[in-house]
């Protein structure tokens, strides 16, 4: 039996500029204080966390400006401010002091191509090439604690849209699609891990929360299309747990014909708009003989009065 402890983040929506103008327009973009508090939390607890999962929408748009700012949050060297090693030379937060794996998957915003938000932007792949190196363009497995001694494998799947034509009009900003080709790749990787890493349990990570609308309210333009096939295949391949984000609302729920698939949907980790769930999530996963024996979690909520994440929800 082994325990893997993860920090699950999602929907950071980092922008380079005009943050307040986005905010005035009611758009969810990151709050610098929340991002700073997040980096501080990671640094303080770096020894107790085995890996960080980020389920998409790291940048607010797949533009060079936003992606370059977003990647700075991961790679910018820290340690310039006395007592605050989670800040870089410009006093911007950085995760650089966290020396363990950071596992990411792109979200629809990361794939926005240009200011019009057209789908299938490719800049993310370049900027995040140190973190996102998918096989066949959409699937990336990541084993913990390492490839040779895997106890838990996170298989990340990118279900962002390939083209406008795959969604309803106006759906391209918020919808995703379970493409058959990508799903088959996901299944192939899952089977491969099962056979090559017999001691490794498997969970899937994607950006879009499948079947979220069956449990909580979700605008049609925000849904993952054809999520039934994804859930069906999760059941078929024996994958019990999925982690995701996208909705900016925290939820844990079960789905599938036998309710055998359990979803952990994180809120947003850095946006502080209205009723959204600004939170980060600790996951503790107990594995034994290639299966997840226990999956438990605790959310840490944003406290705007003290600019910290804490276990008690105040807002």
């Amino acid at each position: 039996m082994a325990i893997v402890r993860l920090l699950h983040l999602s929907d950071l929506h980092i922008v380079r500029e005009n943050r307040l103008l986005y905010q005035i327009n009611g758009l969810s973009v990151y709050d610098p204080d929340a991002l700073r508090a997040l980096a501080q939390f990671v640094h303080v607890n770096r020894d107790a966390i085995d890996a960080i999962l980020i389920s998409g929408d790291i940048a607010h748009a797949g533009l060079r400006s936003d992606l370059s700012r977003a990647v700075e949050f991961f790679v910018s060297p820290g340690g310039f401010s006395p007592g605050e090693p989670w800040l870089d030379a410009k006093r911007k937060p950085t995760l650089k002091t966290f020396q363990k794996p950071i596992i990411v998957v792109p979200g629809n915003h990361d794939r926005y191509d240009g200011r019009l938000g057209l789908p299938n932007g490719k800049l993310f792949d370049g900027y995040f090439s140190s973190f996102w190196r998918p096989h066949g363009g959409a699937i990336q497995p990541f084993s913990l604690p390492d490839e040779n001694d895997a106890l838990l494998t996170i298989i990340c799947a990118d279900f962002t849209l390939e083209t406008f034509k795959d969604c309803v009009p106006f759906g391209h900003w918020g919808q995703g699609m379970v493409y058959r080709k990508r799903l088959l790749k996901l299944i192939e990787h899952t089977r491969q891990i099962n056979s090559t890493k017999p001691n490794s349990a498997i969970i899937w990570m994607l950006h879009f929360a499948p079947k979220f609308e069956d449990h909580c309210q979700l605008n049609f333009f925000m849904r993952l299309l054809d999520s039934d096939s994804l859930i069906h295949q999760a059941e078929k391949t024996g994958v019990q747990y999925l982690v995701c984000g996208h909705t900016h609302h925290y939820a844990i729920y079960k789905t599938g014909t036998n309710q055998a698939v359990k979803i952990h949907c994180a809120g947003t980790s850095a946006c502080i708009v209205g009723t959204e769930d600004t939170s980060i999530h600790l996951l503790e996963i107990e594995t034994a003989k290639s299966s997840v024996e226990k999956f438990r979690c605790v959310p840490l909520w944003w406290n705007p009065a003290q600019l910290i994440f804490q276990t008690v929800r105040t807002n």
Binding site: L21, I49, R115, L116, P169
Partner: protein, 293 residues
């Protein structure tokens, strides 16, 4: 108490923005003022989508530097951006662009685009001044590049799309509510700025340098500029609000969840509660809080 005129070092604001002027507003202003120059720029940019935004191939800064006309751009920028902060904004700009795209899409599928647009080479948004972006129904002439974009990406609008388009046309920006939003944001940012100073104090044990020679220190100025994304050439509306918020925050010295800041005789004193800014340590999280899935 610090007097208003020494609160902010406008020179430093100006200098910073001189360094950072090369953003989309500059490009937009440029396109709006000098068509020939804009065409010149246009030819240098591998891909400009949707009218003025540089989205692929190079960034706005390199466009402007490549043009060798930074000073010229600065002059245009100063003229064109008046009341930018309060009036036009990104949201309206995006909204406007989307509307244009939809219009084009609609025309395209009714075979009107080829005759009316593609023969004419125009720069997207050449005539649209920043201050006119309020009007979502403003006439728009598409460039062939944008038409191509539409052809490549847009699907035939169905009834639903047409209906949404109608709804979008009815929308009108509300300047008053936006102004109120800005006031709220300034208020929140001031609160957060001073809370963050207190938080830093709790970490380092050293009081942060807020003022210097009866002015806010360059670090303080820099942080406020950064937080509020102040507009260098017309900072007055925001600075007024900021000044009001700062003085209110300091004069009332209301107790916060973490303690309070007292401002007396030009000195700041931080009083922190024992439990202020405590970051949860994972090992000490109460077992009852964990939820099994």
């Amino acid at each position: 108490m610090l007097s208003k005129d020494v609160c902010f070092n406008i020179d430093s604001v100006g200098q910073r923005c001189l360094d950072e002027v090369c953003d989309f507003r500059g490009i937009l202003a440029l396109l709006s003022k000098n068509k020939n120059f804009a065409e010149d720029i246009w030819d240098r940019v591998p891909m400009l989508e949707g009218g003025g935004y540089v989205s692929r191939g190079c960034d706005a800064e390199s466009v402007v530097y490549a043009s060798g006309a930074k000073e010229f751009l600065l002059r245009l920028y100063r003229d064109a951006h008046n009341d930018y902060f309060i009036q036009p904004n990104i949201g309206r700009y995006l909204f406007f662009q989307r509307l244009c795209l939809l219009e084009l899409s609609h025309h395209y599928w009714h075979n009107q685009v080829a005759e009316s647009v593609s023969s004419e080479l125009t720069i997207p948004l050449p005539e649209i001044r920043v201050s006119k972006l309020n009007d979502p129904l403003l006439k728009f002439t598409a460039s062939p590049r944008l038409v191509t974009l539409v052809k490549n990406h847009m699907v035939k609008p169905d009834e639903m799309a047409v209906e949404i388009l109608k709804q979008m046309r009815k929308m009108r920006p509300d300047a008053d509510s936006q102004k109120q939003e800005i006031e709220t944001i300034v208020s929140v940012e001031v609160e957060n700025f001073l809370t963050d100073l207190a938080k830093r104090f709790s970490i380092s044990g050293e009081p942060p340098l807020i003022t210097s020679d009866q002015r806010f220190s360059p670090e303080t100025c820099s942080e406020i500029i950064d937080r509020l994304e102040l507009d260098a050439y017309n900072p007055t509306p925001v600075l007024d609000l900021l000044y009001k918020e700062l003085t209110e925050f300091l004069s009332r010295s209301r107790e916060r969840e973490w303690g309070k800041i007292i401002f007396k005789d030009s000195k700041f004193t931080f009083l922190l509660r024992d439990d202020a800014f405590k970051i949860p340590v994972i090992s000490s999280i109460n077992e009852d809080l964990w939820v099994s899935l």
